[in-house]
């Protein structure tokens, strides 16, 4: 079996005082061994919720339906003990805002060692050796294990977070906005490091961000989310450079290429705002903001239709959607 992770028809509903809020509404996704899948979308589209669901980190009253299979095991049916073992060893996560994810009163080396000791039952001494080599792997001298988080810069803290995520050699690493809080130059350094480690260790990764231009650099495949659903997926380069879904097109336009005359003096944007997950528009949830919407869009909810080699898009304008509509008038 080559799939490290498989999501089948996953629905996630948050519990609030005013009723359920559907954050993820039917997502299928696979991550193959050694593959990097980029998950893109705006705030509220459900991308971080999916990350939380894979590691079962969501609030306890959250309803998760469907199956999430990690290394052949359904995460949603795991007992608490098994789940604790899987976190860090089966899948680990690099959170956004590394600045706040580290414990400020513990040496960073001890924090990394803790994960190793707890999960691999190795002795403190062995763990320490491993911490040193992990730090060197992420480009920090091993003596920095004696530092406290405040002694490190933002980029160095994010490197520590990466070392921690790799500590137990997990089969899947989820990076949730790993570089958004960093400066441009440091972002490039961290991205390059992640890409090198991924190649070297053959990591399977999910890379989550709203920045499509970062994803096209780091990912093999891209999945674009809007209002709790995947609206387009396919090879990263193709999705970014020739989007099939109008939403992907708009998202890509937010990261214009310098030198591209189409964007010079002409910022492209969408009207309106991303929808409130508690009040998703009918039909295609993107139709109120879509520049190409026509009369069917408010009533027919599009499936993910095949849209070229290895690509799928949930838009009624995709040729496959029109064929299907023609077959069943």
């Amino acid at each position: 079996m080559n799939d490290v992770l498989r999501l089948d028809d996953v629905h996630i509903t948050y519990h609030t005082s005013t009723g359920g809020v559907p954050a993820v509404r039917g997502v299928d996704m696979t991550v193959r061994k050694g593959e990097v899948v980029g998950l893109a979308g705006e705030s509220g589209c459900g991308k971080s919720t999916i990350a939380g669901a894979i590691l079962r980190l969501l609030p306890s009253k959250t309803k998760i339906e469907g199956t999430i299979t990690l290394d052949g095991e359904n995460v949603l049916e795991m007992k608490p003990g098994r789940l604790r073992a899987v976190r860090w060893t089966g899948a680990s996560i690099i959170f956004q805002g590394a600045m706040h994810a580290l414990n400020p009163v513990k040496r960073v080396g001890d924090q990394i060692a803790e994960a190793i000791v707890v999960h691999q039952q190795s002795a403190e001494k062995e763990a320490r050796v491993r911490v040193g080599s992990l730090l060197e792997q992420v480009g920090l001298p091993s003596r920095r294990m004696r530092d406290y988080p405040h002694e490190l810069s933002g980029g160095q803290k994010q490197r520590v977070m990466i070392a921690m995520a790799l500590a137990c050699s997990p089969s899947l690493v989820i990076a949730d906005e790993p570089t958004t809080a960093l400066d441009v130059m440091v972002q490039a350094q961290v991205l390059r490091l992640m890409k090198e480690l991924q190649r070297e260790l053959g990591l399977s990764m999910i890379f989550i961000t709203h920045d499509l231009s970062v994803l096209v650099e780091t990912s093999d495949r891209l999945a674009i989310m809007y209002a709790g659903k995947i609206v387009e997926e396919g090879p990263a380069d193709k999705v970014f450079h020739s989007p099939q879904h109008p939403y992907t097109e708009a998202l890509a336009a937010a990261f214009p290429e310098i030198g591209d005359d189409r964007f010079r003096g002409k910022p492209l944007g969408l009207g309106g705002d991303p929808p409130d997950p508690a009040d998703v528009p009918s039909g295609c949830s993107f139709h109120p903001r879509c520049p190409k919407a026509f009369e069917d869009c408010p009533t027919i909810e599009p499936d993910l239709y095949p849209a070229g080699e290895g690509r799928r898009a949930a838009c009624l304008l995709v040729p496959a959607a029109k064929e299907r509509a023609g077959a069943h008038p």
Partner: protein, 360 residues
């Protein structure tokens, strides 16, 4: 002769667009703090030279992007132009006159749009109150054509794209989306009919699909109201989209300035080139990336302040050209390398056959 003077002088002086704001050799420093006991022992805190001799001019109706890494002084620069930041040296001229001691009338002409719309808006005020507050502070109860306050507020909201404006009067910031909030902030600036808008990272806190709309709005305001706009940003793609001119800052100085096409497509300074190389989709991950953290303005290196990270110096090319000593020891000023395009780099000067001038 500074780049600023070079642009105003010249034979075509009369056809050049009018200069609205001129900044001459501006300096802002921050005094670091020391502990109580260290203070008793006479220790002084380190001085951070956030803005360290910046000169440029802003022409009427242009959009200028001020770009650089965090800590380069771009936000301090913007705040100093606004009169929000006491300066330690240099001059700011508005329409050819030095800023007066009483900044209130000036502040009406030059308005700021901050980065985080949620933090800028008072959560307990209605949108109407928020917009009208500026008018009240400046004692304006009637518009130029004797319009009542309500009409002025409505006009500002509708110019900022919040239509129909009356629908927003009684709403609170938390009822609006991020994009709408940023429009309220812009409306708050517009209600005073300013000449200049200083926008500090105006879209970096917004969702990607909403950014374009806010930038479109700024462009439209520039065209319709003939506003002059400074956009402080770390995003060169954004600068490419909206800016007429781009200034690149490094450690409190402008190291390159000129028309956006020149600076972004034909960069002269190695730092500008490095910034362009790390724009993600440029394939930058396979190109050399500057090592090290953003530089520290309390420890500005001698010579060209970029030399410790400069690929031209590190690779040994500067030594081949025989400029390495100067790079390491002699501070240098901006100089025109092409019409309207200035840079501060010995290597660029050598390429263009220019003699360097010392930093003023």
């Amino acid at each position: 002769m500074s780049q600023a003077e070079a642009a105003t002088a010249g034979p075509a002086g009369s056809s050049e667009p009018e200069v609205v704001v001129e900044v001459r050799d501006l300096r802002v420093t921050f005094q670091g703090r020391v502990g109580f006991f260290e203070g008793l022992r006479g220790r002084k805190g380190t001085v951070s030279r956030a803005v360290d001799g910046v000169s440029f001019e802003l022409r009427r109706g242009e959009v200028m992007a001020l770009a650089g890494e965090s800590g380069c002084g771009k936000t301090t620069m913007a705040r100093a132009i606004m009169g929000l930041q006491p300066v330690d040296g240099g001059e700011i001229l508005y329409e050819g006159k030095l800023l007066p001691r009483d900044l209130k009338p000036y502040r009406r002409e030059v308005q700021m749009v901050f980065q985080d719309p949620t933090g800028t808006l008072n959560p307990r005020q209605t949108i109407y109150e928020i917009i009208a507050e500026g008018l009240r502070i400046h004692g304006i109860d009637r518009g130029p054509d004797d319009e009542p306050e309500e009409q002025l507020v409505a006009r500002a909201l509708s110019r900022a794209g919040l239509r129909p404006p009356e629908r927003f009067f009684l709403r609170y910031p938390h009822e609006l989306s991020g994009g709408q909030r940023q429009r309220v902030v812009i409306a708050g600036a517009l209600v005073l009919e300013p000449e200049v808008i200083v926008a500090d990272e105006p879209v970096s806190n917004l969702d990607a699909s909403v950014r374009g709309e806010i930038l479109q709005l700024l462009m439209k305001l520039r065209d319709d109201l003939h506003l002059t706009i400074i956009i402080v940003t770390h995003d060169l793609g954004l600068a490419w989209t909206v800016a007429d001119r781009v200034a690149i800052m490094y450690l409190g100085r402008i190291v390159e300035i000129g028309p956006a096409e020149d600076v972004l497509l034909r960069p002269e300074h190695p730092y500008t080139k490095a910034l362009l190389d790390v724009v993600p989709e440029a394939g930058g991950l396979d190109r050399p990336i500057l090592t090290g953290e953003p530089p520290d303005p309390t420890r500005i290196p001698p010579g060209c302040r970029f030399h410790p990270r400069c690929p031209v110096v590190v690779s040994g090319r500067a030594a081949e050209l025989g400029i390495e000593d100067r790079c390491r020891t002699e501070d240098l000023a901006l100089q025109d390398v092409a019409p309207g395009h200035a840079a501060a780099c010995y290597e660029a000067f050598a390429r263009h056959g220019l003699e360097a001038t010392a930093a003023g």
